[in-house]
């Protein structure tokens, strides 16, 4: 790519003519990088017009506003001239990109690419363009420009006639989320009125894939009509017929046309014809209040602490493992074939090895141990030898002096392969004659249960509901992609620093691959920039380790986002067919569940996800007759694994919608039908296992029954548009903690008086943001009686921390609490004994206070001896250490995986359903939780709020799209996680903290309870508004529009 910097506009045109068709003009250059990150070729030449005279400035006259092509969208939004003369343009500009994009993106760019969201507004405004060609400057109507001119042309300015005060105008952009979204369709319209008659109508559509165009026939239909007497239904039909719009990955042509027509009629008429009345769900009777704690800084008082790791993060001072930089570090990169399924015939790395600056190239031939890993069963190669089974499967790695060299070397590796049939449909994958992803066939695991008499249950039912719930391949979307560095140790060993969730297991898996003793490998896994289950399995570690050993030098590697999308694990897409029966009183009679889950190419933790989904197949309800089947299929669709909720949230979506549907049939409110079927405390669990005390389902239902969200408030009313319908809904859930009965689930915790006088709490767990560090500080300080500042959490390093098990499955909180319960009392005794020794006092007269040891008989806050002095008083070789090993509590069920400890929750949602576009906006989320005592208030609240919004994304916008094994989703410009504007207007989180008398199990895990009932709460709220339950997630606005049509 060559960069040209012309000095005048006419030079730019000359350069454009000379540089050929591959040249591009660059002004704000806000869109190039997104193209290039998708692998689109760079232009041969970039002509930088950003500094040219004559392309800037906004000039207004009485009749027109002239805007230079290089004027940014931010300047347009801030311009008084635009606000006065053509406010429609500013309105449209506000909906383009995000603030920083609008700072760079220019009006010329938005028009020049011919796909901008501003085009319909400009067409309606009657904009004319000033265009410079080699023949000089011409003024051309925008519509003419939209047909690409053959001659090189530079857009220099835009002339926009002023809007008339009598003119009624409107603009609306429909996107894929609330803000910072590409256009599904953008519409604009203006009606010039005189004496109540439409004198002229201008209507236009455009945006993204929709060709920008006026709607001449619809305009003609409106012209001359009395505005008050317009038949908007007929206009809507005419507009829909006239819009030309294509299908794309996200939305159908049919949807674009319908939603576009609705939106245009909405903005011109102020109100879409027709009406839908919400409030269809029977409102529950309020229950007596429960003793919940509303979590906030204000309510928290002295329980609210500033996280000790936060100031450094906010000041951008915390180095993550992907931030390590040293002059001697090589840069690693991995070769992927981007083929979903292929047989490798040969790999030739000689050209790559010969490239100057390349220090190591590794393939499967460099693997001394077993070329396989995987948490449940090791079916995943570190570097592929015989086949690639998904588009992101790694084939080779390179370490070079810099990134550019490493990427060049990858391109020089020659892989011969033969393409194999792609297995993309999980159901078809299970056919006996399907192409095999693995030699043993495509059924990765299966699970079933048959209890009672399912046929008799259905035969005696008063009501049966059946639905297939479809769920997405959600991406973890942690902000820090997979990465880190590895360096060889002088003793022949290796240290690997890479974000993870269980360093000891990463070390085991690496030792197996490298054929190296575990004690030669050090694995550091914290701090990690987000995990959510997606860094539980090995990611960069195998290639990093192989490269560092072969190059005998430190190597760093961080996947790009595009690589992370392609190669990282995802949430298992599931289809759950659920058939549920009850009698006339709403008592459940039968439950039939068929789960089909997509594992992608490898197993990782997917079998566990299937088991956990299955464990929640009846929800917390009693059904006498149950029949289930769960199947996990290997496909070539990327690869899947653990993700927050771990199957429970998927199953909860299905069962909690079924309960509301049955309630509607029975004339019961959502709380009442659940009460009637709720398991009682102390009953065996779904698999017949013993369940821990402190069951709080009734209390969660009480809290949900009394929620203010059931009533439509003036505040909620004031926040919706006239074409939105408000709905409220609830869902109940419970989430098992720990790994279940079968996996090894033990932990060690340790307290040490450090040489610097800090009390070190050693846990082999990981801080991924969830609040492990504050939880450790809180638990240990509370138990010892010292201050949080006295504690130093030592975590996530196999060289320094004990094996505490994985930081997954909502188990970390329990491990910290239990480890502290066991170690703190004897550790305290040792501290006091040492202090007594140094002070010449009796240990029984001393106690731990913040900062050190004090006289137990006084309330003095000044220590007699500080922890630092205590540490100084240690003799050589003497130490104060206390360690405890313990098992995570398990149930007595051994035939399969069953959970013993549960946390309980209820989510309520208030939504606004847009009957023009089928979009769902979440106005409120309210979460009630019962997970035992809250260790750290802010961390707990953060887990809940973050879980809710991640659940909202699952429900409304997120899905990694794959077709025939090829990824259609490639980066964050086509994967839509919630932005700040997608988050609910209000969120409220409550905690019920008490434990049953004698309950020895302490705080429950808080990591997953926040996400698990969000989807059904939103779905039930949609049904309250429009009478139908969306069964496909993320909800398809097209389905919602169909439901709305049926409801009218």
């Amino acid at each position: 790519m060559r960069i040209f910097k012309p000095e005048t506009p006419s030079q730019a045109v000359t350069m454009l003519a000379e540089a050929g068709p591959q040249a591009r003009l660059s002004a704000g250059s806000s869109a190039f990088q997104a193209e290039w990150s998708l692998g689109k070729p760079r232009p041969t030449a970039l002509i930088d017009i950003s500094g040219l005279d004559g392309l800037s400035g906004i000039v207004a006259t009485d009749s027109a506003v002239t805007i230079g092509a290089n004027v940014t969208l931010s300047e347009i939004i801030a311009s008084p001239e635009v606000a006065e003369g053509c406010p429609l343009l500013a309105e449209a500009a506000r909906r383009v990109g995000a603030t920083t994009i609008r700072h760079r993106a220019t009006l010329g760019g938005n028009i020049g690419w011919r796909i901008g969201c501003l085009l319909p507004a400009l067409l309606v405004l009657g904009a004319e363009l000033e265009v410079l060609t080699e023949d000089g400057t011409q003024t051309v109507p925008l519509a003419d420009w939209l047909v690409p001119p053959s001659a090189p042309a530079l857009l220099t300015g835009v002339v926009i006639p002023c809007q008339n005060a009598e003119t009624r105008t409107g603009f609306r952009k429909i996107g894929l989320r609330a803000a910072f979204t590409p256009s599904v369709i953008a519409v604009a319209g203006s009606l010039s009125l005189k004496d109540g008659i439409v004198e002229a109508a201008r209507l236009a559509v455009g945006g993204g894939p929709v060709p920008a165009a006026r709607l001449a026939e619809a305009e003609q239909r409106l012209t001359g009509q009395r505005y008050d007497a317009v038949d908007w239904s007929a206009v809507r039909v005419a507009i829909e017929a006239e819009i030309a719009a294509p299908d794309d990955t996200f939305r159908s042509a049919r949807y674009r046309k319908r939603a576009g027509a609705n939106a245009l009629v909405g903005v011109l008429s102020g109100n879409l014809p027709g009406e839908i009345r919400g409030g269809r769900t029977l409102r529950p009777k309020p229950a007596p209040p429960i003793d919940e704690f509303h979590l906030s800084r204000a309510e928290g008082g002295n329980r609210w602490h500033i996280r000790s790791d936060l100031p450094a993060k906010i000041a951008a001072e915390l180095p993550y493992l992907t931030d390590a930089r040293r002059d001697d570090m090589l840069v690693g990169a991995v070769l992927r074939l981007d083929e979903p399924h292929a047989r490798i015939l040969s790999i030739d790395t000689s050209a790559a090895e010969a490239l100057a600056g390349v220090k190591a190239v590794v393939t499967h031939r460099d693997i001394k141990g077993e070329n396989s890993f995987g948490i449940v069963f090791p079916d995943q190669p570190a570097l592929c030898s015989d086949k690639v089974r998904y588009a992101g499967d790694p084939v080779a790695g390179v370490a070079a002096v810099d990134r550019e060299t490493a990427l060049k070397a990858l391109a020089l590796i020659k892989v011969d392969y033969e393409v194999l049939p792609v297995v993309s449909d999980p159901l078809a994958a299970l056919d006996w004659d399907a192409e095999r992803v693995h030699e043993n066939g495509n059924l990765a695991s299966t699970i079933e249960l048959d209890r009672g008499d399912i046929d008799a249950g259905f035969a005696s039912a008063a009501h049966v509901v059946e639905e297939v719930y479809v769920m997405p391949r959600q991406m973890h979307g942690f902000m820090e992609t997979e990465g880190g560095y590895a360096e060889p140790a002088p003793d022949g060993g290796l240290a690997v620093f890479a974000g993870g969730q269980y360093g000891v297991r990463d070390r085991q898996q690496l030792a197996r691959i490298l054929a190296m003793p575990e004690d030669k490998i050090r694995v550091v896994t914290s701090p990690t920039g987000g995990g959510f289950g997606g860094k539980d399995e090995l990611t960069v570690q195998p290639a990093l380790a192989l490269l560092a050993l072969k190059a005998n030098a430190p190597v760093r590697m961080q996947w790009t986002r595009a690589e992370s999308v392609l190669a990282g694990t995802k949430r298992n897409p599931m289809k759950i067919r659920m058939r549920t029966a009850c009698d006339a009183d709403g008592m459940l009679l039968a439950q039939e569940v068929d789960i089909l889950a997509d594992s992608g190419a490898y197993a990782s933790l997917s079998p566990g996800v299937l088991e956990t989904a299955h464990e929640h197949a009846c929800g917390p309800y009693i059904s006498p007759n149950v029949k289930t089947l769960g199947r996990l299929a290997y496909t070539n669709n990327g690869t899947c694994g653990a993700f927050r909720g771990f199957g429970a949230n998927q199953m909860t979506y299905a069962i909690e919608c079924q309960m509301d549907r049955l309630a509607a049939f029975c004339g019961l409110d959502p709380i009442e039908i659940r009460r009637r079927n709720l398991r009682e405390p102390g009953m065996p669990g779904f698999l017949g296992q013993k369940v821990a005390p402190t069951e709080r389902l009734t209390e969660m239902l009480d809290a949900a029954a009394s929620s203010p969200l059931w009533q439509e408030t003036p505040q909620a009313r004031s926040q919706i548009r006239s074409d939105e319908i408000i709905g409220a809904g609830m869902a109940l859930n419970y989430q098992g903690n720990g790994l279940g009965t079968i996996p090894h689930d033990e932990a060690i915790g340790r307290l040490v008086l450090g040489r610097d006088g800090r009390i070190e709490a050693h846990f082999g767990l990981d801080e991924m943001g969830q609040g492990l560090i504050p939880s450790i500080h809180a638990a240990v300080a509370d138990k010892l009686g010292c201050a949080r500042e006295d504690i130093c959490a030592v975590i996530g390093d196999t060289a320094a921390t004990p094996d505490s098990g994985s930081t997954t499955a909502s188990r970390g909180g329990y491990v910290v609490w239990k480890g502290t319960e066991l170690t703190a009392p004897p550790f305290s005794a040792k501290l006091l004994a040492k202090a007594a020794d140094l002070l010449g006092r009796d240990a029984a007269d001393l106690k731990v206070i913040p900062g050190g040891i004090a006289d137990a008989a006084t309330n003095s806050q000044v220590p007699l001896i500080t922890f630092a002095a205590l540490a100084d008083g240690l003799k050589p070789g003497e130490s104060i250490v206390e360690e405890a090993e313990f098992a995570f509590p398990k149930s007595d069920y051994t035939k399969g995986n069953a959970r013993f400890i549960f946390a309980y929750g209820a989510t309520l949602a208030r939504v606004a359903v847009d009957r023009a576009t089928g979009e769902v906006r979440v106005l409120d989320l309210e979460l009630h939780t019962a997970a035992g005592p809250v260790i750290d208030l802010a961390a707990y609240l953060g887990q809940m709020e973050g879980g809710m919004v991640q659940g909202l994304g699952f429900t409304l916008t997120e899905d990694v799209l794959i077709k025939d094994g090829r990824f259609l989703t490639t980066n964050y410009d086509n994967y839509f996680m919630p932005t700040v504007r997608d988050a609910p207007e209000r969120m409220a989180t409550f905690a019920l903290e008490d434990l049953d008398p004698g309950d020895p199990f302490g705080p429950r895990g808080a990591g997953e309870i926040g996400i698990s009932s969000v989807t059904p709460a939103i779905a039930n709220a949609v049904a309250d508004a429009i009478g139908r339950w969306p069964a496909v997630t993320p909800f398809r606005p097209e389905d919602i529009l169909d439901f709305c049509e049926a409801a009218e």
């Binding site: 994009i101 803000a179 993550y320 990134r403 987000g530």
Partner: protein
């Protein structure tokens, strides 16, 4: 008329956190990569390299910018401030403290970008409303928090900045 060849090593000079920096880049290098990989200024994070997440934000001539969207040659003579170079700006301390008090972040990887957006906003507009804050943060993705803790911290900061602005008037 000046022309730059991609194969050329392009000299680049700009001010980084108040200091002059000279380095060389290619035509295709992004400012993010220069900061992280050439200058080792890894306080500027890397998220998507497509301008869609805000993790790499810096102040460029006083305004928040996605450094991944800036081709390094475009930063010639620019004033670049990273998340670790904000100390000199008067609103920085208020923003940082308010965010910490409300426990705004979790993993923290997005934090430098959010802080840049907020410092940029409140430096330019000391009377920022909730709507202004929402607009300023549209381009910053956070995957951990669900945004409300960040909004609480941002609104606390906005109130304090507004209060201070009225005191000094």
């Amino acid at each position: 008329m000046s022309t730059i060849l991609a194969t050329d090593v392009i000299p680049l000079r700009f001010r980084l956190n108040g200091e002059d920096v000279e380095t060389t880049v290619t035509a295709e290098t992004s400012l993010t990569r220069v900061l992280r990989d050439t200058l080792f200024k890894t306080e500027t994070k890397i998220g998507c390299e497509a301008g869609r997440c805000g993790a790499c934000m810096v102040l460029m001539n006083g305004r928040p910018a996605n450094s991944c969207l800036v081709m390094a040659w475009q930063a010639e003579d620019a004033e670049i401030v990273t998340g670790a170079g904000l100390d000199a700006l008067p609103v920085t301390e208020i923003v940082r403290e308010a965010l910490a008090e409300e426990s705004a972040f979790q993993c923290g990887y997005c934090a430098p970008g959010f802080v840049i957006s907020l410092v940029g906003l409140l430096s330019e507009n000391p009377q920022a409303t909730r709507e202004d804050v929402l607009t300023a943060l549209e381009g910053n993705i956070c995957r951990c928090t669900g945004y409300h803790s960040i909004l609480r911290g941002a609104m606390l900061a906005a109130a304090r900045v507004a209060e201070r602005a009225s005191e000094t008037q």
